[in-house]
Amino acid sequence: MAAPIIAFDKVVAGYTPSLTILNETTLDARAGEITLLIGPNGAGKSTVLKTLFGLLTPRSGEVRFESQRINGMDPRDLLGRGIAFVPQGRNLFGSLSVRHNLELGGITLPRGELTARIDEVLARFPRIRERIDNQASTLSGGEQKQLEVGRALLLRPRVILIDEPSIGLSPKLVQDVMALLRALADGGTTVLMVEQNVRTALKYSNRALVLEMGRLALDRPAGELLDEPDLNRLFLGGHARPAAG
């Protein structure tokens, strides 16, 4: 079994001093795996990713990356250490071109390297390459997600945090995004993914963590959960759709 590359140790965090969202959350993600983080709306899944990426500073507890404490570290430093974040929703700069969006993703890279890295990413996304000079807002939803993932890959991260990548995508495109993440993980990149599309996501994941009210409620191999007949009723609250089959 691979070693944890990311660990939360009794992390307490929230957006305001009076409201605690993560309540002594303890969890980890292992290197080279896709770890799926699921749970009802408002459970704190996005908050876990934001805390990990330094957008939120824990009040107590410890966040570790490769055994080093990274509590409250700047997103820029974390990018430098190899953590990339693709937040929930739309994250492109719609008024800028596709190329400029990519260049922004590589803003922390040395100037000379950027062009080669962009070519490297474009080789993976032919659809994006065709539209390189278009305004980002004119891409379809699926293309935009691809561009966001591509942009995150520019820095050759060792860990990708990705929050609900399937929102607004057709089932086919969801499969594409998942397959892409799977390929990345097989190549050694660690993926920590939040996803509501649980059944599909489980098929591509190694491990599933269930978060409820800011605490880890369940930690199981993804394959095991997939066989669970009561998957939805078990912990997904009202949000989960009835299993289609």
Partner: protein, 320 residues
């Protein structure tokens, strides 16, 4: 903005500049004054238009530059060319400091913070008589020389100012086309997204103010040398408001927005006022009224400014 689409603008600027061969002195003076204001509004366009940071204090930087120019050129006897970098650096540093509120507040709060700064500078210029001469100002500011060649006539000084404006615009253009330009746009569009990509939003916010301020500071030195007299009046916050209006009316975040805005807001009313043709004089009377109405309509129908008209027209044609 592509290189090709800048052509008509550059030719237009040059044509207007060449009219200086035929214009009378007071009109050439007006063109110089416009060029000076353009230095400040181009700086402001970077701060407000490209980086999305509201500012109602640009006239203060113009004033700081002008007074540094006036004091150093008269009392200390410094040459123009040595004063220029000093004014730029001082305004850059003050701009950095003025950028700090922007790290905490946005939009109208930021507008008030910068407006407060402008009021403060205005009061300092008026009350610190030992340094600024108070309401009497500072007179007898010399015109510069270039390699020993005096630029003392309106015509010569205009070409100096115009060429300097060209250099400043080119520098800003290069900056905006570099990764810096993208970072400013990212900051304007969505600072949180920008931060997630590793854009140092603190640094870029501060630099957006500092660079914009430095441009105005440089403009201030030219102002001092052009008018050869400074007093606090022209650096009142109403001038900041006017410059902001010029940027917004022209099209904030568009490279030639300030150019168009400055022509509409500064040059046109002055030309009408100076005109001796009765019909134009009549128009002058109504210009402010028409202008006020036009700005209201523009903000309602075309919030992107005059230069967004082209986009709208193109979009209309492809039928979206």
């Amino acid at each position: 903005m592509t290189v090709r689409s800048t052509w008509p603008w550059l030719v237009g600027m040059l044509v207007v500049a060449c009219t200086s061969f035929f214009l009378k002195r007071s009109d050439i003076y007006l063109l110089s004054l416009c060029s000076v204001y353009l230095m400040a509004t181009y700086g402001l366009n970077l701060t407000v238009g490209y980086a999305g940071q509201m500012s109602l204090g640009q006239a203060a930087f113009l004033g700081i530059g002008a007074y540094i120019g006036a004091i150093l050129m008269t009392k200390a006897g410094w040459p123009f060319w040595c004063v220029l970098p000093v004014a730029a650096i001082v305004c850059f540093v003050v701009g950095l400091v003025i950028g700090f509120p922007a790290l905490r507040v946005q939009h109208h709060y930021l507008a008030f913070a910068t407006l407060g700064f402008n009021v403060l500078v205005f009061l300092a210029l008026r009350n610190e008589e030992w340094l600024t001469g108070g309401t009497f100002g500072i007179a007898n500011i010399p015109r510069p020389t270039l390699f020993g060649y005096p630029l003392d006539t309106e015509f010569r000084f205009f070409w100096l100012t115009f060429a300097s404006l060209g250099v400043l615009m080119t520098l800003l253009w290069l900056l905006l086309r570099s990764p810096w330009g993208r970072a400013f746009a990212a900051l304007r569009d969505n600072p949180i997204r920008a931060e997630s990509l590793g854009v140092n939003i603190t640094a870029y916010t501060l630099f957006a103010f500092a660079i914009g301020a430095a441009a105005a500071g440089i403009g201030g030195v030219y102002y001092a040398s052009l008018v050869q007299f400074v007093e606090p009046g022209p650096f009142h916050f109403s001038t900041s408001l006017m410059m902001l209006l010029a940027v917004i009316v022209g099209g904030a975040g568009r490279f030639f927005g300030p150019l168009l805005g400055t022509v509409v807001i500064i040059l046109l009313p002055e030309l009408l006022r100076a005109s001796t043709v009765p019909a134009l004089q009549f128009m002058q009377k109504w210009y402010l009224v028409a202008f006020g109405v036009a700005v209201v309509l523009l903000m309602v129908w075309l919030p992107g400014g005059l230069l967004s008209l082209g986009d709208r027209w193109r979009r209309g044609r492809v039928g979206q």
